[in-house]
Symmetry: D2
Subunit: 220 residues, 4 copies
């Protein structure tokens, strides 16, 4: 099937012990389905999760800098070093300057890390695609955390994003996000031409995350 | 000939009375040549310059916001209201987030203002072009204020930018900047396929700005 | 009586022609009362207002920089140069880094400009006072634009701010803001030990700004 | 003796395996002296270091937010959760807004975490002290990474900072930093009234970090 990336954000339900539990659930369900399910926990939890769980781990953000005199920053090479698969870049809650998005994508290309650039509309999706990342993830900010799935509420933005990306750089793959939690919304996202979905609260803040994830992938 | 946009920056030599004097010099020389010469003074000097001088005036920056509860910000509509021609957007000294660049370009399109998006390399030039601004101005940051003209030091970045823009959106025009002050560098910029140049210190901080500008346009 | 500073923000009702009209109303009402009434319009409108009206004009913001290669920024010296009285600093809609607040206050002291540092609680009020500005303006962010006057909703924060400032640096004067528009709230603010009020929407977005201001100063 | 906090920054020499090695060196030397030696590695390395080494670990930065929909951010509670001792706050390479410094200090007080607020001059030191953190660390930015020790180059700024803090809030302890790497500079810092030093490159980028640290604490 498709790709599912779960952003743990700075949710209490997605940090510390809960993050590890959630990662284990993802690992378990991953083994039962064909979907590729990856997670993006916070920086502090990554090391332990990666030792305990066989799931691809992404950062939620990375700074557009080289090793050096930077305090409180994370360098792309550090992600590689610790064994991360890649990173979300330019999430709507962590927007980056254009030049910095480009810096990180280019750096990731050289490091063999996977870049997932989040965008807010068709125009910025096309612009991001022009930078040649691995993925663009279109997420209308007004739908993030709304519970209203983008694939149902605004299929045009998804379809047009897929088309715009094809025109600019057909090597770039498209994800979509915002409000997705049900299996049918995930399937619709794939039908609209995306490779998968980026989600957060629908799983992480679900009363029963295991059940929510099983439902998403169609096991329930 | 071509287009010349002079960024007054926050130079002492380009603010207050000096800004007005400089604007008058631009007006005078403008009338003697075919080149389109415009200026981008700071916000405080615009109103007076626009009353005194018949030259197109651009802002150096504008905020990606609507009218409302924002303190210390400038709304795109305010630029229109006061009679500005447009604005520089995303200058290397005032980088914007991708979503904000898109917001301003889209807003300018509706308001009939001219958008000049500054970029730092071929990749970001292509990305900016995908957003459909009027102009992209490629300026390698390491050459800004260096006195080393981009058109001589790095003709490839200019040529490749022009080509990349053509591929992405052929309606977008290209300027280049950084280190330009001599007539031959300006001519080279045009030969490389740009519509003109964006410059600052080469004129504004010149010992004799009138002479420097006359030299640039080939009157000396 | 006291001090009234009216922040025009980026309100449509406080920019362009409306800004000039409002400035004239302030000038007229100023002449009828003992209160000191000043205004803080946006950068683009200042020059014209200052020529047309005899009212002290403040900036809403200023950048913590020296003259130089800064695009889209306003240097403290530029405010002095154009004849401004001073500036709001660190408004809740334009928060600054601690080191930058200090830079601007120190610069203003040397330039003879008046610094009004906005703060959000008693602790930051004390901290700002330690930097030695002319004024600290305590504004609980949750009340800004609410129509609920801080002097009524949270008199303790005002009283404690006044006391905290006295302890740290008794030369610093205190204003308060947020939700104030009625005469009695203004009077209460003075009774709580402040020198006056900072306000915005209560006047600028009032159906009849003249009436609102007359009411504020007790003429109605 | 005193307090030594070693900021690993985003140095290559202070991340990944090198970070762990360095932490072990600190643990070992710590056991031989009376000085309190703590470290501030990057977020990704903390978890492993804390399992392997018995040394107090601080964050280099923390975001001024609550648990919730924030991507790529670290919440104060997460630091507590993972067992950190506290955090540097407002380092010159990661300056914060005044209101955010206050937010973190207040949050740390409730969580029992140790707050070390970095400042750049006597005025900001006094302002930071007014917020009631555990420590203020005065570091003139121009000396950071310079190899010129603040305690020798500018003893007045240290002495005056200590005095200013005493006046504002005598519970706040003072560290100083910038350019320190020699034992005598550390001793001078203590003689000037500080509780210790904050340093980075002098140890982390030393050819032989063990030797450098032994020298700092007077074992060589």
């Amino acid at each position: 099937m498709g790709i599912i990336v779960i952003n743990f954000k700075a949710y209490k339900e997605g940090s510390g012990k809960k993050a590890l539990e959630l990662a284990k659930i993802v690992e378990e369900i991953s083994s039962k389905v064909d979907d590729y399910i990856a997670i993006a926990p916070n920086f502090l939890d990554m090391s332990e999760i990666m030792k305990a769980v066989d799931v691809d781990v992404y950062a939620q953000h990375v700074d557009a800098i080289e090793y050096g005199s930077h305090t409180g920053r994370i360098v792309p090479e550090m992600l590689k070093d610790i064994g991360l698969k890649g990173s979300l870049i330019n999430h709507s809650e962590r927007r980056l300057k254009l030049a910095d998005i480009d810096f990180v994508i280019e750096k990731f290309r050289n490091l063999g890390l996977t870049s997932i650039v989040c965008t807010n509309n068709v125009a910025t999706t096309a612009a991001a695609a022009a930078l040649g990342p691995d993925f663009v993830a279109i997420e209308p900010p007004e739908l993030i955390g709304s519970g209203i799935p983008v694939s149902k509420a605004d299929p045009e933005i998804v379809r047009n994003s897929v088309e715009a990306v094809k025109k600019v750089n057909s090597n770039v793959k498209v994800l979509c996000g915002a409000g997705i939690s049900k299996h049918e919304d995930y399937v619709t996202a794939l039908d609209l031409g995306t490779e998968g979905v980026l989600l957060a609260s629908g799983i992480v803040k679900a009363k029963d995350p295991r059940f929510a994830l099983e439902e998403l992938v169609g096991l329930k």
